[in-house]
Point group: C2
Chain length 243, copies 2
DNA sequence: GGCGGTAGAGTTGTCGACATTCCTACGACA
DNA sequence: TGTCGTAGGAATGTCGACAACTCTACCGCC
């Protein structure tokens, strides 16, 4: 699952059967990072809040050593900010930060889409279909949170389908950032239906192999999301720590 | 310098004078990561070679704790690969890896260029000019290595000019990867002059605000580099550890 | 001669303890 | 009343030591 799971697949050109692949054993810091990343994305640690080492270490059942190593990974990702002798804090959702998040996300996802379009884009569209249906079901049920989750999963799948290790690794961080936004700024999208429509359009353009349209739709989709989130952070419905 | 230097600039909207900005104090793991990253980029540790903790810690004058935390950052970046109970290894330059490096780089740099084009692209072109001259001088002197270094610096500047923290952080890794390639696959570019011309063309298109041309030139430039490097790694002039 | 097993050295993984720094609360003083 | 100074507590930063694992070299055995 984790693109930096520290596998032992160093020699890339070794072709093994699916049942006899090199057994991966991810390191403790990698697992710590994955757990804490998920917790942050899940809203357990609001933006701006501090992560206390002793408490976290006890909760995860490890000592402070491996814990700190894992947290350093998240700091490198930009999910955490370190202040010397003070501690680690979850990234703040300032308008600048939100804009920057989606700028980088746009870079990765546009590239991912263009890769898919150079390959079997019809198959890629097929693979995205289940997530579209899931999103539509959530929208019908009025489950805005479910729509948002399916939304992000759609984009994760889009990137994963490229098979690019680096795009996947970078985007893992970006997906977490998106989930932070959803949890902190609320998934109060009264336009769930439009959201579903946007994704359907993207998948459709992808299926038809229309590179220019896919790109334009992706950019527009990102712009929409940014505008909405920045507006939400302006109107003050931010759920963050007083610190 | 380091985009993940763990500054204390959490509250983003604070406007201070240039002389009275918050004093940054980057953490030891961040400095360790920067040093080792530079060493790897400099070719001190060939692709595939192992990094020994005790020796490194002694060289850097820190204990194994902070050292390991710093190395975890590089592992997260993808510059190192961890194998449990065995150690950390510098990323291998398999053709797949090289292609993936430049795919992700293309994603970031195209985005960076488009950001610059939406802003003051003439000023951006001005800022790139010194690096072009430096590259030209190196080319005239027959200093292929100098050309390659100026080349990478050019691209670093391109991304830095956007002011995007995230693009910068991601690209820092990619610049290191590019330098690894140069050192391991040789900077034997018999076409230094063409290389300079390519960059001049990119800067020129940027200055004129021609978005489509800039984008096309960037993509072509990347494709050239990948083809060259993959070819070099095929013909076996790889300088990597027997391990 | 080849194969399996074993002891040794060296490395990584993990932990607990100490030093240092920061924050808070309290009290003295102008 | 406000400010300065200080002591206490709690957190982070760093280190050294022990445990566990891997690799290598050597030896016995078939």
């Amino acid at each position: 699952m984790s693109p930096t799971g520290d596998a032992s697949s160093r020699s890339g050109s070794a072709r093994r059967s699916s049942t006899l692949r090199p057994l991966v054993q991810q390191s403790t810091p990698a697992r710590v990072a994955a757990r804490v990343r998920r917790a942050i994305a899940n809203g357990d640690f609001p933006p701006g809040s501090q992560l206390h080492e002793v408490a976290l270490a006890r909760q995860l059942g490890v000592s402070r050593g491996p814990l700190r190593e894992g947290l350093q990974r998240l700091t490198q990702e930009g999910l955490l900010t370190a202040i010397r002798n003070r501690g680690l804090f979850v990234v703040d959702l300032t308008p600048e930060n939100v804009r920057d998040m989606f700028l980088a996300r746009e870079a990765i996802e546009r590239c991912a889409a263009s890769v898919l379009l150079r390959g079997d884009h019809a198959a890629a569209a097929d693979a995205l279909e289940p997530l579209l249906e899931q999103m539509a079901r959530a929208a019908e049920a009025g489950d805005s949170h479910g729509v948002a989750e399916a939304d992000i999963s759609f984009h994760e799948k889009l990137v994963a389908l490229t098979g690019s290790e680096r795009l996947r690794r970078i985007h893992e961080t970006q997906a977490a950032e998106a989930r932070i936004c959803v949890h902190a700024l609320g998934s109060t999208y009264d336009n769930d239906v439009q959201r579903v429509a946007e994704h359907r359009a993207i998948a459709q353009a992808l299926r038809e192999g229309d590179a220019e349209l896919t790109d334009r739709l992706l950019v527009a989709h990102m712009a929409d999301a940014v505008a909405e989130l920045v507006e939400a952070s302006r109107t003050g419905q931010v759920r963050q720590e007083a610190d």
